[in-house]
Structures are given as structure tokens and as C-alpha cells.
């Protein structure tokens, strides 16, 4: 054993020098039951290698990896390598790529590392991922990082909840608003009546009540403690720097359901990579990381003081602070959480197209004194809508809803015009949007798509049912693609929630109008009431999972199997 350890670095050096295929690294992971302590609560959960601190796997581009996964749980498990391009049998989805890893069993994954960047891995079995089964992957590029830095840290977010994933799912099925503790109350009604007049406030309630929807329904699951690298705010994960150094933060959102708005107050963040693929550097003050996305940002703290890494949930129900400091033991400042946003009718836009409007009387709404300026309805796709009994012109969109102009607002292009979800930077500066992402080098030649596939994201919030095209996974036929084709996906979000859609095995190129330079991702968030286009070069044979990455939406059935027909076997 000692010999191999001693010889391996030598072999690597020789291999590199001779231009031989790189080393075959062997990595061991155990899947264990662990006691998770967030400082505010303790619970039983799952951890890799016996720890609530996520394991980081460091790979080298070009390496052939062998990963031995030992299942110490009393139930089956699996590991999916999120964002990695690999043979489908190694993709780790029980029932699609393999049969899972039985209790006590060790499964050996083998695949070549054909890419570089920040990725992550997680269980694809039951609710093990929300229960703690996730880790990070950092792959060093062959030629070194395109932007060199002095320090390099993984910053992995999660939304650790005191309840187990299966209990959360059960509670949501029993009552979809079980975890919504940000609902509008009698007190809000009084405040709104004071601000807008009682009539407007009541009209607003009436409108939402008619739909049986809640404008506060941004996060399905509240009451969690967000963690950075397994540490809560009070446990204070800390990255060390020397003033003036460039620090690369590999942001990964491994949450079950929570989007985070991330910033380092006092510092600009230069985004250099998204979902593992380098992008042209873009300087921002803040960014929103959807569930399962990764962003690499570079910050350069110049003062010898503690800076905070702030992750604020998009619904503003929870926040986590980590620290960047010149020495251990320092604590970055804590900031007050910003006010909770409310969904607007714009976020309902897609929902209405698929909705039965009977019993919804919007025609009689009072428009007097309404100001529509700054509101752009032209972006709505109303075709195919059933307008019977519904007068959109007469809809009161003013009451309590911030009206945000769609044009020119930072980070707003991929939200419905007038959406209540459009984020703004805490310091009033630049907020990253998908439109800001430009591939550093094209991964594929730009060519017209061979065909378009419409993916309607559908659901019933009250029943907590989630589906694609109105059909749940268990009732659906697989999506069949042909090897070698380029497919254009048209995502139409007909629900009131954002869905981070993840296609396994192949890249998802978001159409931002930049042709070959469109950003290449593995997960794309589709905001409520919007239509978004992506393209995929179908270059991976086999069968793959395709789903919403919100754990409870995936479990509910917002999921498809994708079969790639033809190609090398």
C-alpha cells in the first residue's frame, strides 16, 4: 500500500511528462447516518464520510476516476454527479441509470473526467439529499484556471430543516401552506388599508382569494436554518485571505427548495463561471443562485478585516452569514434581512393560460386611480388564453405590488414583466441575470435546432401536485431524443413558482440571444409566468433523468425520463 501511495505522484508526473493519459484516482465515500447540529437544532440526517460538512472531491480534468461508495444506511442509496458528462450507467439515478446501492453494499463508479469546473454530487434516492447527502466536486482544468486566484473555497449552501424530507413532503401534501409562515395576516390588511385605502386592500385580497393563491407563496418550505459548508451563521464558516489576495468562491446551491441571493457586502464579485463552464467575467454586486446551480465568483478583499458572505433566501425567510477574514475566529458583520417580496399578477400570468377561469370574476374590479405607467404587459403571451369572463385590462395590479419596468432593470430579463420576484442588489448596484452570462469559449458550434419540444411546467399548488404538461412522471411516456440532433426546449412555466430544471447527461444552453456564446449550464431556473428557451446538443446516448430540482417537486412528479436513441453504444 505504501508503495502505491509513494509511487502515484511519480506516475502522475511521468504520465504528464510523457503525455500519457492521466492518473486513475480512486476515491472512497461512505454514506452514513449522522447527527446534524445547526446550533439552533439537532437532528438525525445523512452525511458523506460521517460528517455534516460536505465532502469535497478534487478531480483533475482528463483523469479516470474510480469512486467507491459504501452504503452504511439501512436503506438503498445512490450518488448522482450533478453536471458531469459521463456514461449514463454512471449517472446514479435509481431506476434510470442503475439499480441503486443496497444497504451494506459498495458500488464502484468509473468514468473519465472530461470537463473542468465546479459541480456537486448528491443522493438521488428518496429524500436523502434534503436529509444531508450532498457534497462538492472541484475539477482542475488541464491548462490551469483561466483566471488565477490566490485562494480557492467551496461555498456550498443548503436549507437545513428540522423535519426530515419525507415528513416535509407529507406535510405539504396534507396542507400546501404548512410551512408558509409569511402569509398575509389581519395586521397586514390593516397596514395595507392604511397605505392604499381599505377598498384597494380588500380588492387585492379578493383577487388572490378568488384564485385561492397566496402572493407570499415563494418558498414552499420555511423554517429552515441555512448552512454554508455545513455551518450555520453562528457556527460561522470562515475562509482565510491575506489583504489584496484574489479569492475564488465556488458557490453551490445544494438546497432542497431554496434560492439564495448571495453577496459579499463591501466587495464586487466577478462571476467567472456558471454551472462549471467559464463565462466572460462579469462584475456584479449580488446574484441569485437557483437550487442546483453553481457560480464561481472572484472577490478581492483589500482590508485586513472580516467580510461577510451573505446568503439570503429569495423569499426572505432565512439568511446565513459566512466569513472571509485574515485570521480564524473573526466574525463578519450580520445584516438585517430585507423585506419579504410578494408575487404579483405577472407571476400568475402563465398560470392563467392553463387555468379554468370559471368563478373568477375580474371584470368588476375598480381601476379608478390606478397607475399603469411603467407596466409593460406586452411581454405577456396571452395567445391561447381563455379570456371568458376575464378582463385583463380591468385588473387591479397596483395594490401592494411593486411595479418593476422590465426593460433595463438589472437581472430582470428572465422574469415576467412586473414580477414580484425580480431581485435588486442590496446596495442598489448590479444584480446578475442570465442575460449577463456569455460563454468564454463556445462549447458547441452554433447551428439551428432540428426541432422544438415544448415543456409546460404545471401543477396544482393547493394539492401540492407537480407535473410536466399536466402529467406526472408515473403516468408519462419518456421524452425520446435522437443522438446527433440539436433540440430546442421551450419551457413554459404555468405555475406561480420558479422551477430549476435539470437535464442529466447533456448540456443545457440558455438562449440569451448570443448564438455560440450563449451560456452553457446544467440547471436553468424558469421564473413563474415566463417562457424560456434552451438548446441541447444530443450527444450522450442512453437514458437520463430530467426534472425540477426542488426536491419536493421532483418527488411529486415534475420529472421525465429522457431516452436518447441511437449513437455509439
Amino acid at each position: 500500500m505504501k508503495h502505491t501511495n509513494f509511487l502515484r505522484p511519480l506516475a502522475v508526473v511521468l504520465g504528464l511528462a510523457l503525455g500519457l493519459p492521466a492518473q486513475a484516482g480512486t476515491y472512497d465515500i461512505t454514506v452514513d447516518k449522522v447527527r446534524i447540529d445547526t446550533g439552533t437544532f439537532k437532528k438525525n440526517g445523512i452525511g458523506y464520510n460521517g460528517s455534516q460538512t460536505p465532502t469535497i472531491l478534487h478531480f483533475q480534468e482528463g483523469e479516470d476516476v474510480v469512486i467507491r461508495v459504501k452504503n452504511n444506511l439501512r436503506e438503498s442509496t445512490s450518488i448522482h454527479w450533478h453536471g458531469l458528462i459521463l456514461p449514463f450507467q454512471q449517472d446514479g439515478v435509481p431506476g434510470i441509470s442503475f439499480n441503486g446501492i443496497k444497504p451494506g453494499e459498495t458500488f464502484t463508479y468509473r468514468f473519465p473526467i472530461e470537463q473542468a469546473g465546479t459541480y456537486w454530487f448528491h443522493s438521488h434516492s428518496g429524500f436523502q439529499e434534503p436529509d444531508g447527502a450532498y457534497g462538492a466536486i472541484v475539477i482542475a482544468p488541464k491548462g490551469g484556471e483561466s483566471v488565477p486566484t490566490n485562494r480557492d473555497y467551496v461555498v456550498q449552501f443548503t436549507d437545513k430543516h428540522p423535519h426530515s424530507g419525507s415528513r416535509i413532503f407529507r406535510n405539504l401534501k396534507a396542507s400546501a401552506d404548512y410551512y408558509n409562515r409569511a402569509q398575509r395576516t389581519a395586521q397586514d390588511l390593516i397596514e395595507d388599508a392604511g397605505a392604499e385605502g381599505l377598498k384597494a386592500a380588500l380588492q387585492d385580497r379578493k383577487m388572490w382569494g378568488a384564485m385561492r393563491m397566496m402572493p407570499t407563496d415563494i418558498e414552499d418550505v420555511q423554517g429552515f436554518t441555512p448552512l454554508i459548508n455545513g455551518a450555520s451563521t453562528q457556527q460561522n464558516w470562515t475562509g482565510i485571505f491575506k489583504p489584496g489576495e484574489k479569492v475564488r468562491l465556488r458557490l453551490i446551491n445544494s438546497s432542497a427548495t431554496t434560492y439564495f441571493d448571495v453577496r459579499v457586502p463591501g466587495l464586487k464579485m466577478t462571476v467567472v463561471q456558471a454551472d462549471g463552464n467559464d463565462v466572460k467575467p462579469v462584475v456584479v454586486d449580488e446574484l441569485r443562485i437557483a437550487v442546483a446551480e453553481t457560480y464561481d465568483v472572484i472577490v478581492q478583499p483589500r482590508e485586513a478585516k472580516a467580510y461577510s458572505i451573505i446568503g439570503e433566501s429569495a423569499g426572505r425567510t432565512a439568511m446565513v452569514r459566512g466569513t472571509l477574514a485574515p485570521s480564524a475566529g473573526m466574525v463578519g458583520p450580520y445584516y438585517k434581512m430585507r423585506p419579504q417580496p410578494l408575487l404579483t399578477m405577472a407571476d400568475m400570468g402563465g398560470m392563467m393560460s392553463g387555468m379554468d377561469h370559471s368563478g373568477m370574476d375580474m371584470g368588476g374590479m375598480d381601476m379608478s386611480g390606478m397607475d399603469h405607467s411603467g407596466m409593460d404587459m406586452s411581454g405577456f403571451d396571452m395567445s391561447g388564453m381563455d379570456h371568458s369572463g376575464m378582463d385583463m385590462g380591468g385588473m387591479d395590479m397596483s395594490a401592494g405590488m411593486p411595479v418593476v419596468p422590465s426593460e433595463g432593470a438589472p437581472g430582470a430579463a428572465f422574469y415576467a414583466p412586473g414580477s414580484g420576484l425580480i431581485p435588486t442588489a442590496a446596495n442598489g448596484g448590479k444584480f446578475l441575470g442570465y442575460e449577463d452570462l456569455t460563454a468564454r469559449k463556445p462549447l458547441y458550434r452554433d447551428r439551428p435546432a432540428t426541432r422544438e419540444i415544448e415543456i409546460r411546467l404545471t401543477g396544482n399548488m393547493e394539492r401540492y401536485i407537480w407535473s410536466i404538461d399536466g402529467v406526472k412522471y408515473e403516468d408519462a411516456d419518456p421524452i425520446r431524443l435522437k443522438y446527433g440532433e440539436r433540440v430546442r426546449f421551450k419551457f413554459v412555466n404555468e405555475t406561480m413558482m420558479a422551477h430549476p430544471m435539470h437535464l442529466h447527461g447533456m448540456w443545457t444552453i440558455i438562449d440569451t440571444g448570443k448564438g455560440a456564446y450563449d451560456p452553457v449550464k446544467h440547471t436553468v431556473s424558469v421564473a413563474p409566468g415566463t417562457t424560456l428557451y434552451t438548446e441541447t446538443e444530443v450527444d450522450a446516448p442512453g437514458q437520463w433523468a430530467f426534472h425540477c430540482h426542488l426536491s419536493y417537486h421532483m418527488a411529486g412528479g415534475m420529472f421525465r425520463k429522457v431516452i436518447v436513441e441511437g449513437g455509439p453504444s
Binding site: H124, A174, A210, R212, M360
Partner: protein, 248 residues
């Protein structure tokens, strides 16, 4: 001796309900799980009343709960409601087993069997057909026809007013309208009865434990009220209530 056997009798009936319900529930549970992306079978238990009622003449314990299991397409529901006079009889004992299925976005239809087995009155069994769900403006409603020799219509409405996100005021209304005379149970066709409640609850531990205080008012009308008066009973009753609701 008599009281003892009566009590055992009721325990038996409760057990019977459980015995019927659980195997069915397990049948459901064994179906699902396994595959990724496929909704596991879920279950829940929720009380909407578990309280001590303080009246002018007597005090009583009252309950109302629903236990269910199933999936998005079908749920098996055991609904139970009743009241026991402190140190005395079960003056109310209603159990239903239902199969519930979505019929619209917000409403389920259900069919089932219902048993009404209070002390000191003949037992009644019904076939139950109804709808239950969420009406516009957040009213929880239910309406059902109970079919037997002594049919009646039952309806319930409940609304949760959030004073804060944890302090919740819940007005409720329950109406039953007999469609046939049932003299042995002091009921006349068309002589409806109404139960009005107002409960102020506080979610102490998540939504799992919510203590509350409130008032409950019951009143009989029409022919039923006449029968009650003739028998020297009150036609209405106002009680103060204190209780704890559970959801798990």
C-alpha cells in the same frame, strides 16, 4: 355493569373502525415508494376539535379528527366526531370511512359509510356521498348527503383568519338537515340543527400542537326543536371550550 358494557361496546366500535381502516391504509402504503420521481403514498392525522366543553348544566369532552392515507388520485379518510358527557354517556359518536377523489382543482368528491352510535339512542348507518374542498376566498367547505331510512343533509364551513401567522381565529358552521322523521332520536324531518363555533388557536409547535379557547353554540330548529321542548330538553346550548389541536 350496564355502563361498563356500554363503554366496552363503544371501545369495540372504535377499534372496529381502526381495524377496518389500518389494513386498507397499509394496502395503500405498500403500493408506492421505490422509484424516483414517483409520489410516495402519504398519510396524515389532524384534529379540528379536541376540547373540554363547559356548559350551564354539564361539561363534556368533544373531538373531531380526520386520519387519511393515499396519493394524489385517491385518499382513504377516517373522519370521527363525538362528545362524551363528563362522567356520563357518549351523547354523540359519528364515524365515517370515505374514499375521496379529486373532481376539480380544489374539490374532492367522496363516497363512504357513516355510523352514528351515541349512547341511549338507536344506532344509525348511512351511505355518504359528498364534496369537500376549498371554495374561493379560502372557505373550507363540505356538503354531503347521508342516505338511509333516515336520510339527512350535512354541510360544514370553516374559515381560518390569520391574526398573526400563528394566532388564528377560526369561525365554523355545521348544519344538518334531516329529510325524514326519526322520533327515536328526537328528530323531525326539516327540523335542522346548527352548530356554530369560534376558536382562537395558537400554533405552539409548528402546526403540530395548537392549543385554543373558544365558544361553541348548538341549536335545533323546527320540528326537532318542538320534540326537544316536549321532552323537556333544551333546544340550544352554549359552551365555552378549551382544547388542543394536533396535526401529525
Amino acid at each position: 355493569m350496564g355502563a361498563y358494557s356500554k363503554e366496552t361496546n363503544h371501545m369495540k366500535k372504535l377499534l372496529l373502525g381502526t381495524a377496518l381502516g389500518l389494513p386498507l391504509a397499509l394496502t395503500f402504503t405498500s403500493v408506492a415508494m421505490a422509484e424516483v420521481g414517483v409520489s410516495p403514498t402519504v398519510w396524515g392525522v389532524r384534529t379540528d376539535k379536541l376540547e373540554y366543553r363547559m356548559g350551564d348544566e354539564e361539561n363534556s369532552f368533544a373531538w373531531g379528527f380526520e386520519a387519511w392515507t393515499g396519493n394524489d388520485e385517491l385518499r382513504l379518510v377516517w373522519k370521527s366526531e363525538g362528545a362524551k358527557i363528563e362522567g356520563g354517556d357518549f351523547e354523540e359518536m359519528d364515524n365515517q370511512i370515505r374514499l375521496q377523489k379529486p373532481i376539480t382543482d380544489f374539490f374532492d368528491g367522496f363516497i363512504g359509510v357513516a355510523a352514528s352510535t351515541p349512547d341511549g339512542a338507536p344506532e344509525r348507518y348511512y351511505g355518504a356521498f359528498g364534496v369537500t374542498g376549498l371554495a374561493p376566498q379560502w372557505f373550507e367547505v363540505e356538503a354531503a348527503l347521508y342516505v338511509s331510512e333516515y336520510p339527512y343533509l350535512g354541510a360544514e364551513v370553516e374559515y381560518e383568519a390569520l391574526l398573526t401567522n400563528r394566532l388564528i381565529l377560526t369561525p365554523s358552521l355545521e348544519v344538518s338537515l334531516p329529510l325524514a322523521d326519526d322520533p327515536a332520536r328526537e328528530i323531525a324531518a326539516g327540523g335542522g340543527s346548527v352548530e356554530l363555533g369560534l376558536r382562537l388557536s395558537y400554533d405552539l409547535i409548528g402546526r403540530s400542537v395548537s392549543p385554543y379557547v373558544g365558544v361553541n353554540y348548538e341549536r335545533a330548529f323546527g320540528g326537532t326543536a318542538d320534540i326537544l321542548r316536549d321532552h323537556g330538553h333544551e333546544v340550544d346550548e352554549l359552551t365555552g371550550v378549551v382544547g388542543i389541536n394536533f396535526m401529525f
